[in-house]
Amino acid sequence: MFAAARFEELSETKVQSCQLKMSDNAESPTETQKEELHSPSENSATSEEKKKIDVLLKAVGDTPIMKTKKWAVERGRTVQSLAQFISRFLKLDANEQLFIYVHQSFAPSPDQEVGVLFDCFSSDGKLVLHYCKSQAWG
């Protein structure tokens, strides 16, 4: 299957993906930008869940672009957890909903583990996830 490659630091130029014409008003978080998503302490997580996969985040619509797009994420992390991370990173309003899609415009269930998404949809060793913010609910 896929190689559980160790995530390596990538320079911004390597990470630049397709040019998305949208405003980038995302502020950098106050803490040092990390490229690894640290889960809250999960003593019960299996070693399998702790393995990391490469995720490439792409903004859709007028959603702010994250300055760091490529992340190493533990397989056991849920879509919901990732959405919350992105919302915090982008400092979204509480009223703003963030949606995550796999490339076929399908929103995986919030409880879905990213490791499973990687197994289904990864290409070139990375999982591309699109995120879109919306005031969808009113």
């Binding site: 619509g61 899609y101 399908f106 919030p110 289904c120 919306s134």
Partner: protein, 244 residues
């Protein structure tokens, strides 16, 4: 389709495609035609287990769960800490042995099992699919509006309840004339638009109804399995994973 407005024919086509996949996966959707006409809607029933610490729900005797403090969320909607339902609830109700569709974690074994019915209709005025749903306890008592809010995942509740338009409310089913909850379609175009545009830019076809359902379904406990968009040859029948 490249535009974010759907017409009825496109709606039907999307539904038929969804239906085909549902049949392959054993996901339980059916098409309910209206009096032999082409008009109709998608329908599905499912059991769902809702954690008792999400809010006030009534058991079969009408006993009220002790009202839990509203789940604390910080500004990002992230739950702050686990509630302990056993501390406040008077009784332990039917406990699902296993999560149906693996939706939500049952905390401390205290939860309520509900029978859900989901309908997907087409709204001509909004050019969008609309989700109607209702829920019953296993004794057949239908859920009140206040209780329905307790079945919405806390992560979505903040955004939904702040909506001035009451994104989820009660409405008479346009075809059946019975009271249902429904997800107001007025904002559908707004969140579907960017996704459809992105797909159109890349020349990818999209099943509008499926994409839309994958977004709104989880809010009301309707799981839309990943297998709907994985390639045919790797599809796994859901029957093998269902608890019964």
């Amino acid at each position: 389709m490249s535009c974010s407005v759907l017409d009825e024919e496109q709606f039907r086509q999307c539904c038929q495609l969804l239906l085909q996949r549902s049949d392959q996966l054993g996901d339980g959707w059916s098409w309910e035609a209206v009096q032999g006409s082409e008009e109709g809607y998608l329908r599905k029933t499912a059991l769902r287990s809702v954690p008792s610490d999400w809010g006030p729900l009534h058991d079969q005797e009408g006993f009220n769960f002790h009202p839990q403090p509203q789940t604390l969320c910080d500004s990002t909607g992230h739950e702050k800490e686990e509630q302990d339902p056993a501390a406040s609830t008077g009784s332990v109700f039917l406990t699902a042995e296993e999560d149906d569709d693996g939706s939500y974690t049952v905390t401390n074994g205290s939860s309520l099992v509900l029978q859900y019915e989901y309908h997907i209709l087409f709204s001509c005025s909004y050019g969008a699919p609309v989700l109607y749903f209702r829920a019953f306890t296993l004794e057949g008592r239908s859920l009140a509006l206040e209780e329905m809010w307790s079945t919405i995942h806390p992560n979505y509740r903040l955004c939904l309840q702040n909506s001035p338009l009451n994104a989820i409310s009660q409405q008479e089913h346009p075809l059946l004339g019975q009271p249902f909850f429904f997800f107001h379609p007025c904002r559908t175009e707004e969140f579907m638009g960017p996704v459809l545009q992105a797909a159109s830019d890349q020349g990818r076809p999209v099943n509008y109804v499926l994409s839309w359902l994958s977004v709104v379904g989880p809010v009301v406990g309707l799981d839309v399995p990943l297998q709907y968009c994985t390639p045919l040859h790797s599809a796994v029948s859901l029957n093998s994973t269902k608890p019964h």
